[in-house]
């Protein structure tokens, strides 16, 4: 057996380290809030449903072009070969379009779920997936409240496919392709702060044209992809009951209790063990 006492202490040590890092959790979101995230504003009131963004996205990321038709009432979904999609909805104000893509949450559930940090909230704001780290557990898919990450089930080397806000292009100083390709200026790229200001301005200047809400300002703790719409968002098939605080918040309580249990439990157990030792002696006598 290679495990001696020292080896055992080492294992304990590792457990201790994992505990210590666990504490860093506290600091992280705060730090990140100070940097300015980039995001996108999508305006359903301007979108004409031309699907230029879909095509541009597929071409830029070497994905096949979609063949299914855009029709009000049918739900086209993003999948492992399609990162973004435009759908049409028959609403109280006629046919309105909506773009589906990753929301690039401020505090993403997917990244908090990921045990390899493959899902990662960059300082720029884009949430990206890194194949060299991902082990394909799909916990990000379980956790994302918008069901955005998609998995290649029919591949021996499967990838997680989702919008990365064209992070590579951003690093080169360019905008996401969908923003660039939009002929109707329904998509704007900028810092989240500017975008919220711009969205407010639009609502304020054209109150009859907009439903008075910016989807993503507070949803899921705030998202980088923000949306405006002429109609209430449930008419566009969005989940409006989504919680306003971030999703990682939900498991924080559990994670924070871990170090405490790790310190208290062994002490308690050892205490009981010592206290009941006498029983053992007695029982043995009786035998």
């Amino acid at each position: 057996m290679g495990l001696d006492r020292r080896g055992f202490m080492k294992t304990l040590g590792i457990a201790g380290v994992t505990l210590a890092v666990g504490k860093k959790l506290h600091a992280k979101p705060k730090e990140e809030k100070e940097v300015e995230f980039y995001g996108m504003l999508y305006d359903s009131a301007r979108c004409v449903g031309c699907q230029s963004c879909e095509v541009a996205c597929a071409e830029a990321h070497e994905l096949p072009l979609s063949t299914d038709e855009l029709l009000a009432g049918t739900n086209r979904e993003t999948h492992d070969k399609r990162r973004t999609v435009i759908n049409a909805y028959s609403t109280s104000k006629g046919e309105v379009y909506r773009k589906t893509q990753c929301f690039h949450c401020n505090e993403p559930a997917c990244a908090a779920a990921c045990l390899t940090q493959a899902m990662h909230k960059t300082h720029e704001g884009a949430v990206i997936w890194r194949g060299d780290k991902c082990m394909g557990c799909r916990y990000c898919m379980v956790s994302c409240p918008f069901d955005i990450p998609k998995f290649e089930y029919h591949s021996a080397n499967p990838k997680i496919e989702k919008c990365d806000m064209c992070y590579e292009r951003q690093l080169e100083g360019k905008m996401p392709v969908c923003v660039e390709s939009c002929p109707a200026e329904a998509l704007v790229f900028g810092t989240r702060r500017e975008l919220i200001k711009e969205a407010r301005k639009r609502i304020h200047e054209n109150p009859e044209m907009y439903y008075d809400h910016i989807y993503g300002e507070h949803e899921a703790g705030g998202t980088g992809f923000l949306q405006l719409s002429p109609v209430p968002f449930e008419e566009l098939g969005l989940n409006v009951k989504i919680q306003k605080s971030s999703y990682p918040e939900l498991s924080k309580g559990f994670l924070y209790s871990v170090p405490t249990i790790f310190v208290l439990w062994p002490a308690v157990l050892l205490g009981i063990h010592e206290a009941t030792k006498n029983n053992k002696a007695k029982e043995e006598e009786n035998e």
Binding site: V21, T116, C134, P145, F151, A156, S251
Partner: protein, 409 residues
């Protein structure tokens, strides 16, 4: 340690250690038992399916969808399997921490069962990983996703397996006749037990905490912020029911190995365990009721999912709880076994309700496992039983320790 290589006891007929190990590898007893006839083809088929899965991708053998990314390989093999393996930490708690010596004779078999369950069911996690070669990242510390509950759970699985191996190691030393090693290893038992119980507390609840972020996806009757507590409390009686179930079977199958004294002790043990089960189930039921009232979901009861929930709570928690209680009062071993089986079904139901059945219960396309997923699951279980049987037939698990152990005490 330079002198780890203790000279192993030379066997009476002068075999070397290698010859001894090789001879132990050979099967003992009859080959064509009904169990073998059923399990061998399933294991071979399962192996084939696993090859197919790695060759063509998960989609080739599973029915997983983009909406339901975790199927029975996680929901049953890992989440349910680990709950059943909880018996090991509960029993070591009773025997080593509370010093309830009555249960000592079943510690070894329970720890062995727990250890193998972790190796195989947590190991089943690897089958489910799309990119298993990167599993090394969170282990060697390339990337510590410390904010991830799954990270915690995975690490705890790993550490707990080591702790269980240490708990079990004196048995291995006895088998090999390694006297000094046995002494050192037994000295580590208490530390391993304490460490193991702590880890178990955290990862049994951690398995529930995995689902905390899936707030909008799990049916509200099963989702609450208390899932971790529920998973932990239920793992106590899940594990003990497994101990009762497995114990009753081993008792028959391996009866030649059990000493006269332990044969007689068996009933007393079962009755003691049923009392503990009844108690913890009562606490669990009470907690469930509190959560239900707190959640204010009265309206949901009168829906199909509501009936399903009531069935679980009444038929598979309340009923077996009462059965355990009556069995304890009447000293009825048969009733204890029935109660244990109903409890186990209830645990399967509960874990699947959270992880599979209640997960995206409103999705347009429901996930239903393929026959292939079920075969692979069965193959994993059968392989575990094979190894279990192999070990019990050779190591002093149920059998008394060799005579030199007593002398050295």
């Amino acid at each position: 340690m330079s002198n780890t290589e203790y000279t192993l006891q030379s066997k009476s007929d002068g075999q070397t250690t290698w010859q001894f190990l090789l001879s132990e590898l050979k099967p003992k007893g009859k080959w064509l038992t009904p169990f073998n006839i059923i399990s061998i083809p399933i294991m071979l088929l399962g192996l084939g399916l696993i090859v197919l899965r790695f060759w063509k991708g998960l989609g080739a053998v599973t029915n997983l969808t983009q909406d339901v990314p975790w199927g029975i390989w996680i929901g049953f093999d890992v989440v349910t399997g680990v709950a059943f393996a909880g018996g090991a930490y509960v029993l070591t708690f009773m025997v080593y921490i509370l010093n309830m010596q009555k249960y000592h004779s079943i510690v070894r078999i329970t720890v062995l069962n727990g250890f193998l369950a972790y190796v195989f069911y947590a190991g089943a996690l690897l089958l489910d990983l799309g990119r298993p070669w990167n599993v090394i990242n969170p282990i060697i510390g390339n990337n510590f996703g410390t904010s991830s509950v799954l990270f915690l759970v995975a690490w705890h699985f790993l550490l707990y397996m080591i702790a269980q191996l240490i708990e079990f190691s004196p048995t291995i030393a006895e088998w090999l006749g390694a006297r000094r090693a046995r002494k050192i290893l037994s000295g580590m038992t208490i530390a391993a037990v304490i460490f193991g119980i702590t880890l178990s507390t955290l990862h049994q609840s951690g398995l529930g905490a995995l689902y905390l972020m899936a707030k909008d996806k799990i049916h509200p009757l099963w989702y609450s912020e208390f899932i971790p507590v529920m998973f932990f409390v239920s793992s106590i009686f899940a594990g003990l029911s497994m101990v009762i179930f497995e114990g009753s079977i081993s008792h028959k199958v391996f009866s030649d190995q059990i000493s006269e004294k332990n044969h007689h002790a068996q009933n007393g043990i079962l009755i003691g365990l049923s009392k503990i089960c009844a108690g913890t189930m009562f606490a669990y039921f009470f907690l469930q009721m509190l959560v239900f009232i707190h959640g204010q979901h009265w309206d949901l009861l009168n829906t199909p999912m509501g009936y399903w929930y009531l069935l679980e709570m009444i038929g598979f928690v309340l009923l077996p709880m009462v059965l355990f209680f009556i069995a304890y009062r009447k000293n009825s071993v048969l009733l204890i076994r029935i109660a244990a089986i109903v409890t186990m079904l209830g645990i399967i139901l509960n874990r699947l309700n959270v992880s599979v059945i209640g997960f995206k219960w409103d999705a347009a396309i429901r996930y239903v496992p393929t026959w292939m997923e079920i075969v692979v699951t069965l193959a994993v279980i059968f392989t575990e039983i094979w190894i279990f049987r192999w070990v019990v037939n050779r190591l002093p698990v149920l059998r008394e320790s060799p005579s030199w152990v007593k002398k050295e005490k």
